[in-house]
Structure formats: C-alpha cells, structure tokens
C-alpha cells in the first residue's frame, strides 16, 4: 500500500518536471531534443558553476590541511539550498493536498498517508541538495584520492542530510496548518508567519557565521570554531574524510532524532488536521458587494485575488519582491553598508547607477507569478474557456496582474535607491522604468513558458508553483539573463558603450521582446488554449 501511495505522489511531483508540452499533443522529436538540450544546459551551468566554487574551496582547504572542512561547507550549503527548496512544500503537500479526502475515504491508515508524503518530500529535498553535493563530490574525486569507505560515508551523509532540512520545513508546515484551523484571516497570518520564520532562519544563519568569524578572529583554531558553531556539519566532514563511524553516528543522531520528534508531533494529530473542514468560516450575506467593472478589470482582479488567496503562490513566486523591499528599507537606515560595499568592490562611480538599476531589474526578473498562472487555472479552466473572453485577453490580464504586483516594490525600491545614491534624473527614471519593463517582459515570457509546459491537473499548488518545469525555467532564465546582461557590460561593453545608453538599450530590448511575445499570443494563443483542455484529459 505504501509503495502504491509513494508511486502516486512521485508521479504527481515529477511528471511535470519531465513533461514536455501538453499531453494530448505528441511532442515532436525536435522539441524533445531542444528541451533536452535546455535542461542539459541548465544542469551543466549549475553543475559547472558549483564545481568551480568547490574547486576554489578544495584548493584552499587542501593547502590548510582541512579536508573535512570541504565537506562540512558542502553540507552547510546543501542544507541552506535544501531548506529554501522545501520550506513551503511541507504545509501544502502534507496538510493541504487535494487528494487528502480521497485517500481518507479509502481504507488507508492516516500514518501511511503521512509516511508516503514524507517520502516524496524527502526525495525532492534530496534532489535539491544534489545540486550542491554532486558537484562537490565530483570535484573531490577528480582532484583528491578517495576510497570506497569514503564514498560510502559520503552517500550515507547525503542520505541523512535531508532529514535535518525536513525538521525545519515540517515544523513550519505543521505550525501553519495549526494556524489555518483556528483563524479567519489565515492567508495573511500564514504569509507573515512564514516571512518571520524565514527571517529568523536567515538571522540565525548569519549570526552563526558571524560567531564563526569572531572565533577565528580571536585566534581560535578553525576546527574548534566550526565544531562549536556547526556541530552536525563538523561531524559530517569528519565522517566522510576520516571515515569515522562515531562522527557518522553523531551526525545521524543530529538528523534523525529531531526528525523523529517532529514526526511524532505531526502524527499525533495528523488525522485531526486532515479532517478539519477547510475553506474558512461561513459569512452571512447582508447585501451590497455588487459593482460594475470592465471585462479586463474583472479578469485582472480575478488574477490578483487568486494570487493573494494562496500563501504558497505568493511566497514562492514573489518572495524576491519582499526581499527587495526589505533590503531597500534596511539600506535606508543603514547607508553605511552601501559605502562599505562599494569600497570593497572598488567599483567605478559611473557604474554604480547601472549596477543598482540592473540589481532591481534582476529582482523583478525573479518573480515567477505568471509562469504558474495558466496551470493554476487547473480544473477551473472551463470557466474562462466558455465565457466570451479571448485567450489573448485572459493572458494579458495575467500579465497585468504580474506587473501590478511588481510595481509597488519596484517603485519604492527605485525611489529609496535614488535617494541613497543621489541619482540624477536619468537614473531616477531608469531605476523604476527598466525594472518595470523587465517585469513586463518576464510576465509575458512566464506565460509563454507556461503555455508550452502546462500542468492543468494537480493535487497541490506546490506541484505547480514550486516543482513545475515552467516555474523552474522562468526563475532560472530570468536570473541568468539579467545577470548575463550585467556581466556582459562590465566585462566587455563598458569601454564601448556608456552605461546610460546600455540601460536604454536593455529597456528597448525588453520592450521589443514583449511586443514579439504579444504578437505571438495574438496569433497562437487561441489554439494553444484549446489544446490545454486536451492536456487535462
């Protein structure tokens, strides 16, 4: 039974990651090859860049005879990435999956439902962590001698590490599920609680790093310092490099004991949480609430309501806006950080404006709201299809909602940056205009990707907003393109093109691309929307 449950969960979780195009329409070999090349390229870029990072570390730690620290750092980095990857999945997958009712109606003990979902989350976390751990291992195997014992220890540690991540994400998910049962404005509370949890996590992480730096500055030996601050990571490093069974057991205890305790807590009232009636309290209608609006207004408002109704959608697709806004407000009250940073980076003053504008644009490019907007229509897609609304209007409303969500944080950040860096009129305008054009382009681009990689049938929104090919491509390509444009200028074009001209060129570039996508939608969207129905069958 457990095997069947896990198989269903995995199929749901991974089907869209490897799904090429809509079902019902056979993918052409050319498309398969192109997608394969794209995925290969992305994996290659991630693997090679992580590999370079670890090669640099390996050289440094080999010179210092601190081989264990290499794997300790790999463990810490994998933990951080795994946590970011899995943090909001737990609540949605464990407590809010749409097939919970179906499963509960079958003769399946609730602990098996919990166990099957845990296995899926474990595997997904393992996958996230592999992005770090695999390149770290490959670099080691290329440049350092290794034994079978070491490899076995590495595999065991890699298999144990996800449990440590799941402790935190399960705890957050369980707390969010408790909140959901008890309060009326649960979405707002879930968002605030999740942001507070993330902030606490990063503050704790940065405090630990500062503590480590302080210990080292005070002359502590690095081994003692890491052992004191990052105990599990220390034992992971020792277990792998010295094949210490004791360290492996200590590391295993750090991973499995807290995980076991959290599982006990969740299992104690899992059935109760699952069988609690959801959807919020009933509200008595007392008249009013009837307003007339335009068609596009209605469609856009519907998209915005969809966005604000789902904490998992908000947190996964637009968290960078919160980070950008939080960062800008932080800098407003800590302007010394900027002076220190620009001094450290030894950046020519004429480039500061360009870098700031591109940084804001990069943050707006990493908003992936539109890349899930079509898939999230899911079983309700029939509504739009049967109403007198064209596919183009529906897509433009989704893009408009994306841009509307991006606009306030972009404008506030742009104004704060303008004040802090005393921008001239050009940069004041560009610090808002370029990120806004970037948001417009990525809104349309996200929809384009989602049209080609739809997932109309899902059990949990997490499958769409976090694990889908569409969201992954939108995030990766957005950040790569923006970072690439910045690096291209600083490395190659700075001597030929003035920064002001370059920023205008990028703005024009995004506007032209947006126009081309619009034309594509006008020509193709209707047919593609119709095909999406067949994707559901």
């Amino acid at each position: 039974m457990l095997k069947a449950l896990i198989a269903v969960q995995l199929r749901a979780s991974f089907s869209m990651l490897f799904q090429i195009g809509a079902r019902g329409k056979k993918s052409t070999p050319v498309k398969k090859i192109l997608v394969g090349l794209l995925v290969g390229y992305i994996v290659g870029v991630l693997g090679v860049s992580t590999g370079f990072f670890f090669k640099t570390m390996l050289d440094a730690f080999t010179a210092a005879q601190l081989h264990w620290l290499y794997f300790a750092i790999a463990g810490i980095t994998a933990f951080v990435l795994g946590f970011i990857g899995s943090v909001y999945m737990a609540q949605s997958a464990l407590f809010a999956a749409k097939d919970n009712e179906t499963l509960l109606s079958m003769p399946i003990p609730s602990h098996l439902i919990l166990l099957s979902r845990t296995c899926t989350l474990y595997l997904l976390t393992l996958l996230f962590q592999a992005v770090i751990l695999v390149p770290a291992l490959v670099v080691w195997l290329i440049y350092q001698p290794f034994s079978l014992g070491m490899l076995v220890m590495f595999v065991l540690c890699a298999l144990l590490l996800p449990f440590l991540v799941l402790v935190l994400s399960f705890l957050l998910g369980w707390l969010l599920a408790q909140i959901s049962q008890r309060v009326r404005f649960k979405n707002l509370l879930i968002i605030l609680f999740s942001l507070a949890f993330m902030a606490a996590y990063f503050i704790l992480y940065s405090r630990l790093m500062s503590e480590l730096a302080n210990l080292l500055q005070r002359g502590s030996e690095i081994t003692a310092a890491v052992r004191r601050v990052f105990v599990p990571a220390y034992h992971m490093g020792i277990a792998i490099t010295q094949q210490s069974v004791i360290s492996l057991l200590v590391f295993a205890a750090f991973c499995l004991i807290p995980f076991g305790l959290v599982m006990l807590v969740i299992a104690s009232n899992y059935n109760k949480v699952l069988t609690t009636v959801r959807g919020g309290p009933k509200v008595l209608y007392k008249g009013g609430g009837i307003r007339q609006g335009s068609l596009m207004g209605a469609l856009t408002k519907k998209e915005l309501r969809r966005f604000f109704s789902s904490p998992i959608y908000m947190l996964n697709s637009a968290i960078t806006l919160v980070m950008m806004l939080g960062g800008a407000i932080y800098l407003l009250f800590n302007s010394k950080v900027i002076t220190d940073l620009t001094t450290q980076m030894a950046m020519p003053s004429q480039l500061i404006g360009l870098v700031i504008v591109l940084a804001i644009a990069l943050m707006s490019a990493s908003v992936t709201m539109s890349s899930s907007a079509i898939s999230l229509e899911g079983k309700q897609f029939w509504i739009i299809q049967t109403l007198p609304v064209s596919a183009l209007q529906s897509l433009l409303a989704k893009a408009a909602a994306h841009v509307i969500i991006c606009f306030p944080p972009i404008a506030i950040t742009g104004i704060i940056m303008g004040l802090l860096f005393q921008f001239n009129a050009f940069y004041c305008v560009m610090s808002i205009l370029l990120p806004l054009c970037t948001a417009l382009f990525f809104a349309l681009f996200g929809l384009l990707i989602n049209l080609h990689f739809p997932k109309m049938s899902w059990q949990s929104e997490t499958e769409v907003v976090k694990q889908s090919m569409s969201a992954f491509l939108a995030m990766f390509l957005g950040m790569t393109l923006m970072a690439g444009l910045g690096i291209l200028y600083i490395a190659k074009l700075a001597e030929y093109i003035k920064p002001e001209a370059y920023l205008m060129m990028i703005t024009g570039f995004f506007l032209i691309l947006s126009g081309l996508i619009y034309l594509y939608f006008r020509a193709k969207a209707e047919g593609m929307y119709l095909r999406l129905s067949e994707a559901k069958k």
């Binding site: 309290p281 609430g289 068609l295 207004g297 129905s533 067949e534």
Partner: protein
Amino acid sequence: MLRIEHLSKSFGNKKAVDDLSLHIKPGEIYGFIGHNGAGKTTTIKACCGILRFDEGQIQIDGLDVRQHPIEAKKRTAYLPDNPDLYEFLSGIKYLNFIADIFGLPKAYREARMLSLSDEFELTQDLASPISTYSHGMKQKLAVIATLMHDPKLLVMDEPFTGLDPKAAFLLKQKMRAICDAGGAVFFSTHVLDVAEKLCDKVAIIRYGKLVVEGTMEEVKGQESLEEVFLELEGQHA
C-alpha cells in the same frame, strides 16, 4: 439555434465523436442520451469552445463557433457536470465577475443576481467563500451564473447532479422559460425519466455515432424512453 454538422473528434486513435449531426431549433429542449463514454461530454465541450474538433461545423445562432467564438459564447451558457468554481472568490464576487465579463449593467445585474439567488435559496451564503460551499451549493451558484445574462442557448452536462429536488424543479422551469422566450436548451442526462418528461426532442448516441434522433414521440412511440434506450443498447452490443 444550435446546428452541429458532421462533427468528428478523435483522441489519439479513439474516435470519440463520429460524423454527428444535430439541429436544435429555437424553443426546443433537446436531450442528449448515451452510455458512459458515448461522446456526449465531448460534443458538448466542442459546442462551448472548450475542445477543438477534427471535422465538421458547429453554429450557434447562425455563428460558426470557430470563426466567431466570442460572439457565439455571448449567446451561450454552459453548465458542466461537476462545477469547479473559483474557490478563492465568494459567491457574490463570482457572480459579479461573470456579470462583468458579460457587461451587465449594475441595476440589471443586481436585480438578476438577487432574484435568482433568492429563488435558489443561496442569498444568505453569497458572502461566504465558494471553498465553504457544498457540492449542491456550488451547482446552484453555477446555475445562477449561467442564467444571469439570459442566454439564448443553454448547454448543460448532467445538470441535475447534486441539486436538491426544489432546485432541480426550478431549473426545469428556467429551461422551459428560456425556450418560451425563443431560446433553446441542449443537455445530456442519464436520468431517462427526466428526459422523457422534459424534452421536446432527444438524441441517443453510442460510441460517438448517432443511433436515433427525433421528437420524444418519434423516438419512444408507445414504449418508455428507458425501454427504447436499453433496446438500442442491446441491438448494438
């Protein structure tokens, strides 16, 4: 009002609808009957612009649904068998959304929403999120949404599933009222008693092909519709 000519639709190698032709005239309630997987829902979805079709032509009020999809949809209302509505909206917001899409004036929509909600006994629940609604309440809300803009053609897939007897009775009255006003109703059902009492015309399909079509008297003669249906199923088995 609805003219389906030589409609064919395949899913892979399986022909879901095979050269189907039906004419539903103004004033007619037209029942569409067939076993599970006969092609009823596929036909209905093709009429409403949810599914592409391979061959044939569908016209609503003289408008080709492929060439004039928006104009055709303005005249149509569709009620699916399982109404998955926007659960993140309240009932009133959902109805308001539909009214905005059809461009209904404020006074008209207000009167229409409230009178229909009162009739279907849903007014008190309009402020609640749709996620809190039962299946029947969602079905009622979907019915209200389909009736709000006074459609000329009402297309429904198993419309009585989930409705309580009073709401089902009310819906039958509304169907007749649409036809009396010059519109038409095309719906699929497995409840043959309902079809027999309600429909002016009926079509039975089997594996995507039209088996029999005509007025209720022409199709069933002296027998019951159930007997005719089972007889036809037996003949073609």
